[in-house]
């Protein structure tokens, strides 16, 4: 068996396990935990397009989740548009707003860029919390939006069981992972990485760094907003502080940093580790101190940054490399 075949077999196997998992996990509670795990893996993978590959650290991505949720929900509630169409509309709107935010902020480097994205995100959240209506659009201020139950159907994006949600987010995750894989191997990926690491050197090699970053930002925001619609339809209720706050933005960044920024598997590995931890601490420790899970995240982040600065993916990939070499060598010997 060649290395390529081994990689492919394992990937297909992992996908099959993911698709077959609901056969074993039938409890809605656990299914919900898995759905949220994929939801976070999806969000972080989308974030990774700009936060990982383009080498900047945006810390306000929850705003785009919010834009997705609000756009599709308002369109459904007030105009009866299917959330599927609203989802695309939200994506486009998020991409535009992401570019508007990116245009001035991508000129900044390091911490200044982080702070600006936080400022933009918080600014938008506070505005949403304090505005009841934008023209004809009813956004309902801090109370958020409640999506009434409709006939469960694919077109209405509402279902009787958790199972369809599980498959929707799983397929979204696989698609965005595929997109990431494709980008990392194409000109855009090379240009983003180059511009992220050494902007001046990249410019001297013919790369308009700011344009490529804006493109990555638009893509990332578009994909992030799709998850917002998914969340709205899954929960059927959301409010600005819960959906657009910094908690969510930070958790996405935590997952990426711990899993491995700029790698394809990093967001998934990070989510696999941190999501169950998050659920566990929330269930068992939240009586003690709300927000304790973020403190624990912070501790893990410090440990990972100290001992595995590239995140968990790099050492795991090295182990896999060694195992794979053994397997393929043995295979070739036969």
């Amino acid at each position: 068996m060649s290395r390529k075949q081994l990689d492919r077999t394992l990937l297909v196997l992992a996908a099959l396990v993911a698709f077959a998992l609901p056969l074993v996990v039938t409890s809605p509670t656990y299914l919900q935990i898995l759905i949220l795990l994929f939801f976070y893996a999806y969000l972080t993978t989308s974030w990774n397009l700009v936060g990982g590959f383009a080498g900047v650290l945006p810390l306000g991505h929850s705003v785009f989740v919010g834009i997705g949720a609000y756009t599709s929900s308002i369109l459904t509630l007030q105009y009866g548009v299917s959330p599927w169409i609203g989802m695309l509309a939200g994506g486009v709107l998020a991409a535009i707003i992401g570019m508007v935010i990116g245009l001035p902020t991508f000129r900044m480097r390091g911490a200044y860029f982080c702070l600006c994205t936080i400022a933009f995100a918080e600014g938008i959240r506070v505005m949403v919390e304090n505005i009841d209506n934008i023209g004809p659009l009813h956004i309902n201020g801090p109370r958020g939006l409640l999506i009434p139950l409709k006939d469960p159907s694919f077109w209405n994006y509402q279902f009787m069981s958790k199972l369809p949600y599980y498959y929707i987010i799983l397929i979204l995750l696989i698609l965005v992972l595929g997109l990431t894989w494709f980008i990392s191997r194409s000109k855009i990926g090379y240009y983003l990485a180059a511009g992220g690491e050494e902007p001046e050197a990249a410019a001297a090699l013919g790369i308009n760094v700011a344009n490529y970053k804006l493109f990555a930002m638009a893509m990332s925001c578009f994909l992030t907003a799709l998850a917002g619609t998914f969340y709205a339809q899954l929960m059927l209720y959301f409010y600005p502080k819960g959906l657009m706050g910094l908690d969510l933005s930070f958790e996405i960044a935590f997952i990426a940093l711990i899993g491995g920024r700029g790698t394809i598997a990093g967001p998934v590995i990070g989510a696999l580790l941190l999501r169950p931890l998050n659920e566990f601490t929330r269930i068992y420790l939240s009586d003690m101190l709300p927000g304790l899970h973020l403190v624990i995240f912070g501790l893990i982040l410090i440990l990972v940054m100290l001992y595995l600065p590239k995140g968990l993916t790099a050492p795991l990939a090295a182990i896999y490399d060694r195992l794979a070499r053994k397997i393929t060598v043995q295979g070739d010997a036969k």
Binding site: E197, L205, G206
Partner: protein, 242 residues
């Protein structure tokens, strides 16, 4: 022979400091021109002006007959003007091959073609045996070579080399002289800033000397090193009597 680069009356002020002042300079196609001068003479500023990092305060820069002053570095690179940096800037977390492919992508959208082009350039610069090493792990001599490889992968007509010999051992300097001669033989015009006089003497067809942003001498390497103004610039005026 037509001129690939023509600089007329080039001037750059940084606040009250005039880094380059009314400089005229031209490079013929296929030539190797060296720009030398004491520290702080304005050599790197000239490079940065030509490569589009800064816009000049006054004057014109013509590349292949087109006026290019004020254009951005990435547009100039597309026109066929590539440069290296005095302080090398490799994409340290990536492999040598990856670094060169970033340059090669300028002329193609296909990853396959970029890889082929990069491999070809790595052979030219004798870096092919370390194509899978991380750029951050290279020695300074190899990093300087990588810097040239990245620029060369963009298929330039004019290559600006900013002190690619600095920090190299004498044998490495000899290798580099061979490499740069090889570039010229491939039809690339080379404009170098260099401090190592042995390399300047061996390489260049013509030398331009600047001091305080002004041209003080120009000519063949032999003529320039005998020029009184040049000797004064390097050794200081008080050595006149000696």
């Amino acid at each position: 022979m037509s001129n690939i680069l023509e600089i007329t009356n080039l001037t750059k002020h940084f606040g009250g400091l005039t880094a380059v002042s009314s400089l005229d300079l031209h490079i013929a196609k296929g030539e190797i021109l060296a720009l030398i001068g004491p520290n702080g003479a304005g050599k790197s500023t000239v490079f940065n002006l030509v490569a589009g990092v800064f816009a000049p305060s006054e004057g014109t820069i013509k590349f292949n007959g087109h006026t290019i002053q004020g254009q951005k570095p990435w547009d100039l690179c597309r026109l066929g003007l590539a440069r290296t940096f005095q302080i090398v800037k490799p994409f340290a977390a990536k492999t040598v091959l990856y670094n060169v492919m970033v340059g090669a992508f300028l002329r193609t959208n296909s990853t396959q073609k970029a890889r082929e082009k990069a491999d070809e350039v790595l052979v030219t610069l004798q870096l092919d045996h370390m194509r899978d090493m991380l750029a951050g792990n290279l020695t300074i001599a190899d990093r300087k070579r990588l810097e040239i490889a990245k620029a060369l992968a963009t298929d330039p007509e004019l290559l600006l080399l900013d002190e690619v010999m600095a920090g190299l051992r004498p044998t490495e300097v000899d290798d580099m002289i061979g490499i740069i001669r090889g570039l010229r033989d491939r039809g690339v015009t080379v404009f170098v800033i260099e401090h190592i006089m042995r390399a300047v003497m061996a390489l260049s067809d013509r030398v331009v000397v600047i001091q305080f942003g002004q041209k003080i001498a120009e000519g063949t390497p032999e003529a320039v090193t005998k020029d009184e103004n040049v000797i004064k610039a390097y050794l200081g005026g008080e050595y006149d009597a000696a």
